[in-house]
Amino acid sequence: MDTIKKEKFTSLPAEPDLKSLGNIDAPNHVTGRSMYVDDIPVMEGMLFLKIFDSPIAHGTIKSIDFAEAEKMEGVVKIFSCKDIPGENQIGGIIPDEPLLADHEVHFMGQPILLIAAENEDAAEDALAKIKIEIEPLPVITDPRVAFAQGKLLSASRKFVMGDAAAAFKNCKYIFEGQASTNGQEHLYLETQGAYAYPTEHNSVKVFSSTQGPTAVQRTVARVLGVGMNSVEVDVSRLGGGFGGKEDQASTWGAMAALASYVLKRPAKCILHRMEDMRMTGKRNPYSSDYKIGLDETYKIIAYEATFYQNGGAAADLSPAILERTLFHATNSYFIPNVSVTAHSCKTNLPPNTAFRGFGGPQGMFVIESAIDHVAKSIGIDTNIIQRKNMMDDGDELSYGQIVHHCEAKHCWNKMEEHYDLKKIKEEVNAFNNSNDFYKKGFSLMPVCFGISFTNTMMNQARALVHIYSDGTVGVSTGGVEMGQGLNAKMMQVAAATLGISTSKIKLETTNTTRVANTSPSAASSTADLNGKAVLDACRQINERLHTFIKTELTDKIDSSIEIKNGVVYIDDEASVFNWKNLIQQAFMKRISLSAKGHYATPIIHFDKTIEKGHPFAYHVYGTALTQVTVDCLRGTYEIDAVHAVHDFGSSMNPTVDLGQCEGGIVQGIGWMTMEEIVYNENGKLLSNALSTYKIPDIYSVPKKLDVHFLHTAGNDMAILKSKAVGEPPLMYGIGAYFAIRNAVLAFNPKAAVPYAAPITPEKVLMNLY
């Protein structure tokens, strides 16, 4: 177990050049040459689009008057829902969300009209001239209130294993309580946006900042009333996504496409930051009830929980998020009797949506709260209960999947090997005893996260590999590069499989005409799914080339062929053929130099009617130790250190994977600490700008952040045995909440600190005194 710094230079196995590739986009990023949607050179006559959105959270539109606005100089057209040629519907899972509000509005910020103007000023001026009259209806912002009124976005779900009710009878310790987590603004640095222009055959081309090119394509086709083949969506890269552009990029793609399609002009719709924050959904807030029962040896025998998910005004991805909350309701623990229920509640907030972890973090916070509740109540260390109940090979999860290659204990034990918990506890106590107004706290946070889309159908991907006649290679996949290093990983797969230098390979934009029917880049699975598809395509080409070498270039039909570093090896001996002349000759001989690869994750399945199956290709494990210091005079805190032991499998790109891990941890800490979404009782977002919604800056991150790579064999279902890394590390951040809470209790042991995140400086101070 070494830290990355050592590892990078000492212990890299085979293909060191590929493993140390890092992020291939970095040189373009640092020179400002990477192109995001708003950087694409635009065409003559481009229209600027602005949205007129609902000023209230719930109501009936009585009248709307935009005649005057539409007559203003520079205004080309104002679209209402009546101007939509196809269906006024953008709901992805459930058709419950209009593109432009019809007679009712359901959240503040809901798009009502689309203004197309010659320039931005004209569009802004038009906004100010629109008159609307809305009769208010009651506003609900609390999911429990919505539930009580029967307002649900989708059917409730329940996972059951064993018999929790009966098992509670055999428990020595039973505790019940509530836990809640607030939402989280994605705050991708690049706001949502799209640029579209009309193409032949009544079609449209859309450049979108989306994690789901096909979702945009499908939505645009629906809104325009055309076939999906009339809509081409192209994505070069995103300035961050984090789930916020999985489903919600479709709205702006549809806006740009609508104006462009109807007016036959290029059109661009880029949201201002405040529009983005006001109009788009965030991580789903949850309010939950838990009941936990342990025997006298601290084994958790039974666990019940009810999750009230704040879905916002439309389903969006909330039903799927809800499901993942249940999948991760017991985190890394084996509990034999589980009964967990989840409700997706309809409120008058912007439709909440995917955010790194996708409901998993919200479920984990509740079980961690329940365990902490028990530990505090019976007066033992929380980590004793955590360790005691860690899952292992052969354990069954509440949804029926049996755990294999479990690394949960392995990670935890490595953590204990490296950091003496007893000593840390003593040091913390000593510090707290000798300081009146500074208190330290620490916590442990294990994570077990399932990899695969929980909707089995979505676990498929395709890739298109072209080898051009000069030997250069273009690789297209259905995956979207958004900073996670997908391009680098795909390049590694292609270079390793074809046996050529990365300098010959280019990663193309993600385009629906090159790779169709893509799943969004989400669920941490993008590299696995698309990488396996690239692998398939490259292998097909290899096969053709090998046959060509054996039968046409030579007559060595029974020889073994391998291409390494661009040289053809025949029976392990370098031949006179290199990549360039091989490709030239293959092309002359009319060998197909293109291939489409396809991958569908094997084994996985899930039956929703019984809520049982094997939904995940594999799980990712880890444990993090978080140490903090609270300034008990001011109520502020610093994260002193986070030490994580993380199961990367056999990391194919340690630089990229470390970056994912560090970034995820800090994002998780942000969610648990300073990031506070505030809506008032009228459903108005008060934390509506970067000045009022704070994400971690460079001074607020952990002073020390070590990520230890747990060496394991990896998993064959992972690309090159390198496990998915996008989401799991975020959940280590949950440890920050408990560490801070512990420090608060060290100052004020009587404080009844609710299990409610984030634990802002305000909550800290209010609990200190």
């Binding site: 020179t31 690049e190 990229v656 994002q667 001074y699």
Partner: protein
């Protein structure tokens, strides 16, 4: 016409002087490396470097182009990432690549420009200074640890450099392109031919733009504006007649870098670190902060506790008013329409203790939930001879705590005094609940910050008050 040097090109434009440099470089010059993240100076994705001659020297400072009015570029060197790109990556760019300091890349340019500003600063060398240079840059992907490693690499490199940083050294070490060598001369020539771009009849006076453009972007870009950011008579810190006089257009950075000020405020660096970020401090003017009358203006609270006086002018006549009497209500000032702030002044008692406190959701680069400043001096017998106390976030305007101050005078610092002081203070504040905290929190927080002011004098008092369960 506004004229300036943009990277290696002299530009002359008739774009509105109140439009932003960001829009100009992106949409008029198609320099798309500079990104738009928030348009309120809170993310740093649009950071550029601005070169100007200060005391005969060409100095480059980082600024957020989203808040910089184009008029403020007049006669200066505006540097975007395209202006530092060379055939090879610069050591700053290379460090960001080598440490994987970039993931999605959208914020990256801002970091590259800020760090380039760090290496161009002639005295900057150490790691803390490198980090301070990027205190206004937000990244959502990396968690900053890799960027810290890049900053470490750069500060190591800076430590290898002999003596002060010169343009020659920067160029020969590939930090910036060779054309920078000629910029000082080119700016000199430009200054002699530059027109006055100010509209003397314009009523909109704009300093650094850091508040006006956030609040009223649309208005500013369409108004006739008077740019006072570079008005020489309004800049600088001086000491005259036992008073420190700060010109209205002095930036927070100018103030913080003033030796005169530093000599009198031993904790100045610590206090200023709590105020916005490097690029914003490079733009924000002292008068702007005061006239904005934001209830939580950091510098305003700072000056209130110094019992500062402001000088107002309408060109024809001048008058002075104590800052504590300047605020009449929410955004209501003792100022006529044609008056502008010329300077702000204060005197410092020799034995004064000064403290500034600020708490927000995020310690740095945030707006205060509550801020407070206090200056006091004690007699030999420990009684408070003189005291000034101010707080932000607890009233509709930056609040000078008149009653509390009156009470504290001539009292000894004791638990009983401070407890009574808190009681009086609570009666003269009226915080409201908003995104920065509930009213109850703000009351409690001000109590804590009030006690923090006196913690340095008598730690036991603090314990006596706060560790009693009943309080």
């Amino acid at each position: 016409m506004i004229s300036f040097i943009l990277n290696n090109q002299t530009v002359v434009t008739n774009q509105p002087s109140g439009s932003t440099v960001l829009d100009f470089v992106r949409y008029h010059k198609r320099l798309s490396g500079t990104k738009i993240g928030c348009r309120e100076g809170d993310c740093g994705a649009c950071t550029i470097l601005v070169g100007d001659r200060e005391d005969g020297k060409l100095i480059y400072r980082s600024m957020t182009s989203c808040l910089m009015p184009l008029g403020n570029a007049q006669g200066k060197h505006i540097v975007t990432v395209e202006g530092i790109n060379m055939a090879d990556l610069s050591p700053v760019q290379q460090a960001m690549v080598d440490t994987n300091g970039t993931q999605c890349g959208f914020c990256t340019i801002g970091f590259v420009m800020s760090l380039t500003g760090f290496v161009m600063n002639e005295t900057a060398k150490n790691y803390q200074q490198a980090i301070a240079s990027i205190d206004g840059n937000i990244c959502r992907c990396t968690g900053y640890k890799s960027i810290e490693r890049a900053a470490e690499m750069l500060s190591e490199k800076m430590n290898e450099k002999p003596g002060e940083t010169t343009m020659d050294w920067l160029i020969s070490n590939n930090f910036i392109p060779a054309y920078f060598n000629d910029i000082a001369n080119r700016l000199q020539q430009l200054k002699t031919t530059a027109e006055n771009i100010n509209d003397e009849n314009g009523t909109l006076i704009i300093g650094g733009g850091t508040d006006l453009i956030v609040q009223k972007h649309s208005l500013v870009k369409r108004s006739a504006t008077n740019h006072v950011f570079d008005t020489a008579s309004l800049k600088g810190v001086r000491f005259e007649n036992e008073k420190y006089i700060i010109g209205a257009s002095t930036t927070v950075t100018d103030f913080a870098e003033s030796i005169l000020i530093q000599n009198n405020f031993p904790d100045l660096a610590k206090h200023i670190k709590l105020v916005s970020s490097t690029p914003i401090r490079n733009m924000a003017t002292i008068a702007g902060n005061i006239v904005n009358a934001s209830p939580i203006g950091d510098m305003t609270v700072f000056f209130l506790a110094l019992n500062a006086e402001i000088t107002l002018s309408n060109h024809a006549t001048k008058r002075s008013v104590l800052l504590k009497d300047f605020y009449k209500g929410y955004k209501q000032l003792d100022k006529t329409k044609d008056e502008f702030i010329e300077s702000i002044s204060f005197s410092l008692p020799s034995a004064a203790v000064f403290n500034f406190e600020k708490v927000c959701k995020r310690t740095h680069l945030d707006i205060a939930s509550v801020n407070s400043a206090c200056m006091f001096q004690l007699n030999n017998d420990g009684t408070i001879e003189d005291v000034h106390l101010a707080a932000g976030g607890v009233a509709p305007f930056p609040k000078y705590l008149f009653n509390t101050v009156a009470f504290l005078k001539n009292k000894k610092i004791s638990a009983a005094t401070l407890k009574e002081g808190i009681k009086i203070m609570n009666e003269e504040i009226a915080p409201i609940s908003d995104a920065r905290g509930t009213a109850d929190y703000k009351r409690l927080l001000l109590r804590q910050l009030f006690l923090a002011h006196f913690a340095g004098i008598n730690k036991n008092v603090l314990k006596e008050i706060l560790l009693q369960p009943a309080f």
